[in-house]
Amino acid sequence: MNTLQRVLALAIKELLAVLRDKKSRIVLIGPPIAQLIIFGYAATFDLNDIPLAVYNEDRSVPARELVARITGSPHFRLITAIDHDEQIAPLINNREVLLVLHLGPRFSEYLKRGKPAPAQVIIDGRNSNTALLTLGYLRTIFTDFNIEWSRQHGLRGPPAELQIRPWYNENLLSRWFIVPGIVGLLTLVITTIVTGLSVAREREAGTFDQLLVTPMRPIEILIGKSFPGILIGLVEGTFILLMAIYWFEVPLRGSLGALYLGMFLFLLSAVGIGLMISSLAVTQQQGILGAFLFLVPSVILSGFATPISNMPEIVQQMTYVNPLRYFLVILRGVFLEGDSYALLFNQYWPMAIIAVVTLAVAGWLFRHRMN
């Protein structure tokens, strides 16, 4: 009874301490919204309006038709048409265009004679990802053109056709991938900052000593201090979730319960890590630095922007201790793949273990790290 009362009192106090301070209220509300908007719109791999120059030496109808197919696509934007070789290099070098499409003078002649007509494409490879994606868009356009040309001219098409179907994200929208990830990213940042400073702040103000001389046990302090982090995380998480569904229109296909179970376990582990950082830090300065040193790698090594499977084996193994890694799978699984509890079991238990370990260490540090 006493324990419950004490824990509750501490939880309420913690919450009041965070919410009554104007500065921390702003930190809790402003940056997450700004980041949600900026991430949501800016963090996209989808390419629009790729600047393009056309060097068409063959003014025939089929050549013009091919060019029109490319310039008519929303992915490309014609910047200029050029008429000799020397113009190519400056355009690409100075990044005025990303690619130059070159159709030789005998393009239509080859085409009409049924010989493979070469269409040369020069792409700026300084951003290799953009180059590859651009190439992918071009391939699709060329394949469509070829199939249609073959049909119109009674040519034999290729003996086997690829029928590629992307599941869960039929139009391959980057945003559907990034926005659910932001739910995980921002709740992690908020929770770590809220809890990462909670002990350090009390230490600086001297109130932690005051707390330690009360009959509260470390476990009670631990639970009381975890509460606001989890509550604030849940509220912000829910807010971003709603924004993802209604503002960014990402489909939610799976079980909301499964998502919240994941969120709860994720918040527990984030709180555990935050409190661990906090009890190690003597000053808020160190708390911030610690939180930062934890956040940067855990975002990079979570699969938020780039897939874990692309990382070297040893780096991949490091990601197993990163709770965000598991929560991102849950988020995307529930949002896009329509997953429910059973399929996500393998994501739940590692987070539970991380939570138990970090919370235990944090509790131990409360009493054993004095001076």
Binding site: F45, N94, L133, L155, P166, L173, I288, S309
Partner: protein, 377 residues
């Protein structure tokens, strides 16, 4: 003593004091030298867009020589790790459990249609959740398919009729290694962070420790204080910068095609911008805690997302494209990617350097103006 001599003496005193403090305080050395190494290693290896050994489920309902040659083509590609599955149900289960990224499904009429009508479907399902990864994988699959088509036609003794062939030539990065463009961009992100972090706390620290009040009552001028603080941190930051370039060249094998001097000059300019930004934050915040937090939020995240380092600026909504113009890292990323991969492209180097110069003047000018010798102003 002449006023000039006094000025020199004050400036030298400030520079020496800051240098001594840097040498005594392991944390600024760590920020300048250890952090770039750790971050470069972490990002350099952790952030990669090159798919390798993508696990693909192979479902062949009726195996024969034709299916074997297609599966073989996948096996020979360095991009894929094909895994045979008995039937589509088993493959789908593995797909749901994320054990495989995609499924290649050859139905039992594949060979018959391949040899007769010539419209044999190759069913491919990819996990579209990660759209970028899915697109790149699609591209690789198309590549495998086209190679196989050519081989198959040759084996049948017929000519493959392709109306138009795409002949791509990727300049500057023929092997399309994502590391070649990520690492130079990372240097920009890391240097933004380090430059801002190094200085964002130095003025705030003086306020907090009470040393500022004593300093302000001496005859020192604000300009001298700013210069005195910048010089040692500039040298420190350039040291970290050189280390990062060295790592890019030798650890990550990124080619440097432009001139080293252009790189150094642009870096020096950018370092001043980053230091100026940190100084401005520090002067305004007056508190290490706020300064640290602000420098992370307003320098690191924009440098990461809005600099064009990883996400293409021209594809962003117009409003956000406008915002990217006030992110200094944007200009530096452009310079770095060109200098490393393309060479001395002067129009890019000069126009972006001009933008950096303007930003430097703005940041340092503002820091100088906001920095008063009055406590209440």
């Amino acid at each position: 003593m002449t006023p000039m001599a006094a000025k020199r003496m004050r400036l030298r005193g400030m520079v020496r004091k800051e240098s001594l403090q840097i040498l005594r305080d392991p944390s600024s050395i760590a920020i300048a030298f250890v952090m770039p190494v750790v971050l470069l290693l972490l990002f350099g290896y952790g952030v990669s867009l090159d798919a390798r050994n993508v696990p693909l489920a192979m479902v062949v309902e009726q195996a024969d020589a034709n299916t074997a040659s297609l599966i073989g083509a996948f096996r020979h590609s360095e991009y894929f790790d094909p895994r045979p599955f008995e039937n589509i149900q088993a493959a789908q289960k593995a797909f749901d459990l994320r054990e495989v990224f995609g499924i290649v499904w050859l139905r039992n009429d594949f060979s018959r249609r391949l040899l007769s009508q010539g419209d044999a479907p190759i069913g491919v399902i990819v996990n579209g959740v990660d759209a970028n990864q899915a697109r790149i994988t699609e591209g690789y699959i198309q590549g495998v398919w086209q190679t196989w088509l050519g081989d198959f036609a040759r084996s049948q003794g017929v000519e493959l009729q392709v109306p138009v062939v795409l002949e791509p030539r990727i300049w500057f990065n023929a092997a399309v290694r994502s590391r070649n463009f990520l690492v130079p961009g990372l240097i920009a992100v890391i240097m933004t962070l380090i430059g801002a972090m190094l200085t964002s706390m130095v003025v705030a620290r003086e306020w907090e420790r009470g040393t500022m009040e004593a300093l302000m009552v001496t005859p020192i001028r604000i300009g001298e204080m700013v210069v005195g603080k910048l010089v040692p941190y500039f040298l420190l930051g350039m040291g970290g910068m050189l280390l990062s370039v060295a790592m890019a060249l030798w650890q990550f094998d990124v080619p440097l095609r432009g001139s080293f001097w252009a790189l150094t000059a642009a870096s020096a300019l950018f370092m001043l911008v980053a230091l100026g930004m940190g100084l401005l934050i520090s002067v305004v915040a007056k508190n290490q805690f706020v300064a640290g937090q602000v420098s992370i939020v307003i320098t690191f995240l924009p440098a990461f997302i809005l600099s064009g380092f990883i996400f293409q600026i021209s594809s962003m909504p117009y409003a956000i494209q406008v915002i990217t113009h006030i992110v200094p890292a944007r200009y530096y990323v452009a310079i770095l990617q060109s200098l490393f991969l393309a060479g001395d492209i002067w129009p890019i180097v000069l126009s972006n350097s001009a933008a950096l110069l303007v930003m430097m003047l703005i940041f340092l000018g503002l820091a100088r103006r906001k920095f008063h010798k009055r406590l209440d102003a």
